[in-house]
């Protein structure tokens, strides 16, 4: 089934009234398993938008890297993209006011699941593929998605739950977006108890290594980093690695040029750099040719850090980055 109707309706109203000049979304790619980002400029092209449960790259990265900041843009976002946009705005990498964020709920994304060749939607309790329903086999979900815990893009202007039809404006801009689209708020949030249980279970499972002895942990990560071929894919695909002049570049003198595997400094520098803002979008891990479970490490660090500072990245634009709030009181915590 096509669950993108409401999304396209909003996009159409924004384009037709020239409130935005482009809509950024994933569109159908070369085959049923392929989705490509597209910047859509005319209402007729909106039909290409799909909200199947795939997230092959970060749209937040697309915005901050490639799109002219002067362009008024609507973006169809999953929670991880919405949160990345918030974090980037907080760090002055983009102007939140330029974006009309159409949020879609996300119960997990799928990479390449054998057999699920075409339209695939992950629901809280089942998977729909080519119009047929299947039991939710959690091993099909991407590892970071299983640990995510952010199904609702409530930091976007509008939240649309394709699973239950719930539609809600989260901001005054969101209310305007619904009203010009001829839509009204409807339904309510689904019960998320089972989702919370899933998140907790997978976090416990994936972070098990953290509970082992320091030596075991060290050996594990040393083995992982020894596989690194220094492709820079983790950095290149991270929506929050935005430095134009990056410490990891070969000509910066921090990490020895050419050497493979690079020194641990390479990974530690990168992970520390995003530790306070990591959204667990998983793009680093999904880009890793050596299959190093990178997002596991950075999410774990972020959760640790977040619990100390009571900070969850990408939820609101007001709370400053945690290390910004470091004060004399911290010593007492």
């Amino acid at each position: 089934m096509d669950y993108g109707v409401t999304i396209r309706q909003i996009g159409q109203a924004l384009l037709e009234r020239h409130i935005v000049s482009q809509v950024l979304a994933f569109t159908h790619g070369l085959d049923g398993k392929d989705v490509m980002p597209s910047l859509i400029t005319s209402p007729e092209e909106l039909a290409r938008i799909t909200i199947v449960s795939r997230q092959p790259l970060s749209l937040a990265k697309v915005i901050s890297r490639y799109v002219d900041p002067a362009v008024r843009l609507a973006v169809v976002v999953r929670p991880c993209d919405a949160r990345a946009i918030i974090e980037l705005a907080k760090r002055n990498q983009l102007d939140r006011d330029n974006y009309y964020l159409i949020g879609i709920t996300c119960y997990g994304t799928i990479d390449k699941a054998e057999g699920l060749t075409s339209e695939v939607y992950v629901f809280p309790d089942h998977i729909e593929a080519n119009g047929e329903n299947y039991d939710l086999n959690e091993s099909l979900l991407l590892p970071h998605c299983r640990r995510c815990g952010f199904a609702f893009p409530d930091m976007a202007d509008v939240t649309y739950d394709f699973a239950g039809g719930h539609l809600k404006a989260n901001t005054p801009r969101g209310q305007e977006m619904l009203s010009i689209s001829g839509l009204v708020e409807q339904g309510q949030k689904i019960d998320t108890t089972a989702l919370e249980e899933r998140t907790k279970r997978w976090r416990t499972n994936d972070f098990a290594i953290a509970g082992s002895s320091p030596q075991t942990r060290l050996d594990y990560w040393l083995h992982q980093f020894d596989k690194c071929i220094k492709c820079y894919g983790c950095r290149n695909s991270c929506p929050l690695c935005y430095c134009k002049d990056c410490y990891l570049d070969a000509d910066r003198g921090l990490v020895e040029p050419g050497k493979i595997p690079p020194s641990l400094l390479f990974h530690l520098t990168r992970i520390i750099h995003v530790a306070d803002s990591c959204l667990n979008c998983g793009q680093c891990e999904m880009a890793c040719p050596s299959d190093i479970p990178l997002s596991r490490l950075s999410q774990e660090l972020q959760l640790d850090l977040g619990s100390i500072f009571d900070y969850t990245p990408g939820t609101d634009i007001i709370s400053p980055p945690p290390l910004d709030t470091l004060g004399t009181k911290e010593g007492n915590k």
Partner: protein, 694 residues
């Protein structure tokens, strides 16, 4: 309003793995590269080169207009003038005969372009003097595997490697040179497979190895025969497979009757015990795969080495099943396709031998000509030798850079200077173009449509993302124009890459079922694909070998053409680094890639450095019988005593000034991997400098 940012899925232009990537364009420029999650080979991953594949596209040194050499300086001219000047190649052909002209085609170019270029050689020039850099990388694979199996291509698919329970990597720095293939090996390893790495250097994939076999370059047959000998001695051969599917096992057994592990130990420098362990591990595996590259092929024994690899795989029945096979990793993005298209002096498109009258007749009919040239042509190195002797008068070089990539560059330079006409068609003014009479500017891979065929025979579409710079054109268009200028336009009526592909389908049986429409599938199609409803063939030889039965050919170790002696005591082996590519014309103009390996270096073992008086990071002169170059010494135990390693990417210190032109008699590949050299320090090392200033 300017066009919005666009995302164009295409195929990486660097190695033969065939990774998919996405070019990001804005305002007519490629501004970045993204990984492409849907792509079946790269799976959303890329290597360092892939991520920066866009960096050279808009480099200021791109050729934007044709250049004509007027009194020693290259000056911009229009296409008409350039093509008329280039058409002199037809006059020289008329004056000296078709064997006096030759073409070097390019494994960087598309299938369509290679097809047009070889057709230009055969139909417009009337010569089989057409070759390309496959000669310098996998000619022995084509020769050796064709003889043993009936097909020279990689037998299994890349993702198949994950199914292996034992992988033997020999002569392949896989993580540096085919990183996304190395990924499959790493994944197999994490699923419990064992890994044997045979390489003269301690390379990155060695970290994961269960057994290391650090052999001396040139001792590959000695090692492979020893592995076979152990397997025979322990009766671990696959008797059923041998009986059902092979011939010639007795001659192999006889040839090795007296061979001992002690001999192998002396030749290879590897303890006999390690050779034995490796043989038992590979033979005992349920599914054993062999992965190899230039360490096997770039020797005067290249074809023998490949044959020995084939013997080892057949002996253990490791063919025709998932997770097994003989897997030569092809170097260039389209070197497989360039061979498929017949950009070779002895085979017409589809590997049909030139010296068969029937084949020539078939192709002549397909191309509507009366006849095709009969005599097989010259290979890369032979063409340059013929030029030096004054027998080859005109050379048309498309996208190759022999002044960097061929052995013994001092002689290459003399050969190029001897030519009456040198036409170079490229995207940059390469070292070779510096010798040209006419330089024709071509479109880069991001500026044209076409297809590449990867190492696993996967045919994939590349897509035009932006316009070429200035008045540069796609290679197929330039060569077709040149044919028209020479009066052969009727044979080159193409208006698009797809037009050419439609002809390829009719001429190359392996591609018959492939269409551009089918290639819209992100998975492409793997040849042989005989009909439009055929799904392609990821694995070769599954039921029977292409030639019927597999054939064992005994091979004996031979010494390299040059071995270290008193005057040249070290064995130099050449190769590549992870972020540079071959002659460097693309990567050295890609700032991120150049920054990783910006300068020529030579790896020397501490033991040798000590007696040569060389300290780490000091400048040294490396001298062979043919030339000398300077480099920075890296004292490291990555190489073993007596062996030194140099990458060949650096024009300022081209390693190929040192290498020799001794050829494998069967495949005509030069022995890049073994050169006798001596090394002398030029400047004191850093440590000594520090002392001097104190």
């Amino acid at each position: 309003m300017t066009l919005p940012v666009q995302f164009v899925p295409t195929i990486c232009p660097y190695c033969g793995t065939g990774c998919g990537l996405i070019l990001v364009t804005r305002g007519g420029n490629v501004i970045d590269t993204l990984s492409w999650r849907r792509h079946p080979v790269s799976d959303g991953r890329l290597c360092a080169k892939g991520w920066k594949a866009h960096e050279f596209i808009h480099h200021s040194e791109r050729l934007k207009a044709p250049l004509l050499n007027k009194q020693g300086s290259l000056q911009e001219v229009d296409w008409d003038t350039a093509l008329k000047a280039a058409a002199r190649i037809f006059k020289l052909r008329d004056r000296y005969g078709p064997s006096a002209v030759g073409i070097l085609s390019s494994a960087k170019c598309t299938n369509e372009e290679n097809y047009v270029i070889q057709k230009f050689a055969r139909v417009a020039l009337g010569t089989n003097n057409i070759d390309h850099c496959a000669r310098l990388c996998h000619a022995p694979s084509v020769a050796g595997l064709s003889a043993s199996f009936g097909s020279g291509a990689m037998t299994n698919s890349i993702d198949d490697l994950e199914q292996a329970t034992c992988i033997l990597v020999i002569g392949s720095d896989t993580t540096s040179q085919h990183p996304l293939i190395a990924r499959r090996i790493t994944r197999a390893k994490e699923r419990g497979a064992s890994l044997i790495v045979a390489d003269p250097r301690a390379i990155h994939i060695s970290h994961q190895a269960d057994i290391l076999l650090p052999l001396y370059p040139g001792s590959e047959v000695a090692l492979l025969n020893a592995l076979i000998k152990v397997i025979l001695d322990f009766s671990l051969e696959d008797l059923d497979f041998i009986a059902r599917r092979t011939e010639g096992i007795e001659s192999l057994k006889t040839s090795l009757a007296d061979y001992t592990l002690e001999e192998a130990e002396r030749a290879t420098g590897i303890p006999a015990e390690d050779i034995k362990r490796a043989a038992l591990l590979y033979a005992g595996a349920e599914r054993g795969a062999i992965v190899y590259a230039m360490g096997i092929t770039q020797h005067i024994t290249g074809t023998d080495n490949v044959t020995a690899v084939a013997n080892l795989a057949m002996l253990t029945g490791n063919l025709g099943k998932k997770g097994t096979g003989v897997n030569p990793l092809r170097g260039q993005n389209n070197v497989q396709g360039s061979c498929d298209m017949g950009a070779l002096p002895d085979t017409l498109p589809g590997y049909r031998a030139v010296n068969s009258e029937l084949n020539r007749k078939e192709l002549a009919e397909a191309w509507s000509v009366n006849m095709l040239p009969v005599a097989p042509g010259l290979t890369v190195v032979e063409m340059l030798e013929a030029a030096q002797r004054g027998e080859l008068k005109a050379l048309y070089v498309v996208g190759e850079n022999p002044m960097m990539s061929d052995p013994d560059l001092n002689h290459v330079a003399q050969a190029l200077e001897h030519l009456e006409l040198l036409i170079v068609q490229d995207i940059f003014l390469t070292e070779t173009a510096g010798y040209a009479d006419i330089v024709l500017p071509s479109a880069s891979w991001a500026e044209k449509d076409g297809t590449f065929t990867s190492t696993e025979r996967r045919v994939q579409r590349i897509r035009k993302a932006v316009m070429p710079p200035g008045i540069a054109m796609a290679d197929w268009a330039i060569t077709s124009q040149l044919a028209r200028t020479g009066g052969y336009g009727q044979y080159f009526p193409y208006e698009s890459a797809e037009d050419i592909f439609d002809e390829i389908r009719q001429v190359v049986p392996q591609y018959h079922g492939i269409t551009y429409e089918r290639l819209n599938d992100p998975c492409g199609l793997t040849w042989p694909c005989p009909s439009e409803n055929h799904p392609g063939t990821p694995m070769l030889h599954s039921e029977h070998f292409t030639r019927g039965n597999g054939q064992f050919y005994p091979v004996r170790p031979r010494l390299p053409a040059e071995t270290p002696d008193e005057a040249y005591p070290l064995l130099l082996t050449t190769g590549r680094v992870s972020t540079q590519w071959h002659s460097g014309s693309m990567t050295r103009r890609s700032p991120s890639l150049e920054a990783e390996f910006p300068a020529p270096f030579i790896e020397i073992n501490p033991h040798d450095a000590y007696w040569l008086g060389i300290t780490n990071q000091c400048r040294v002169k490396v001298i062979s019988r043919r030339g000398n170059v300077e480099a920075i010494a890296q004292i490291t135990d990555r190489v073993k005593p007596g062996v030194a390693f140099m990458p060949f990417h650096y024009a300022e210190s081209a390693a190929n000034r040192l290498t020799g032109t001794a050829l494998d008699p069967r495949s005509k590949i030069p022995e890049f991997k073994v050169t006798a050299v001596t090394i002398t320090p030029l400047t004191p090392g850093k440590l000594q400098e520090d002392h001097a200033t104190e």
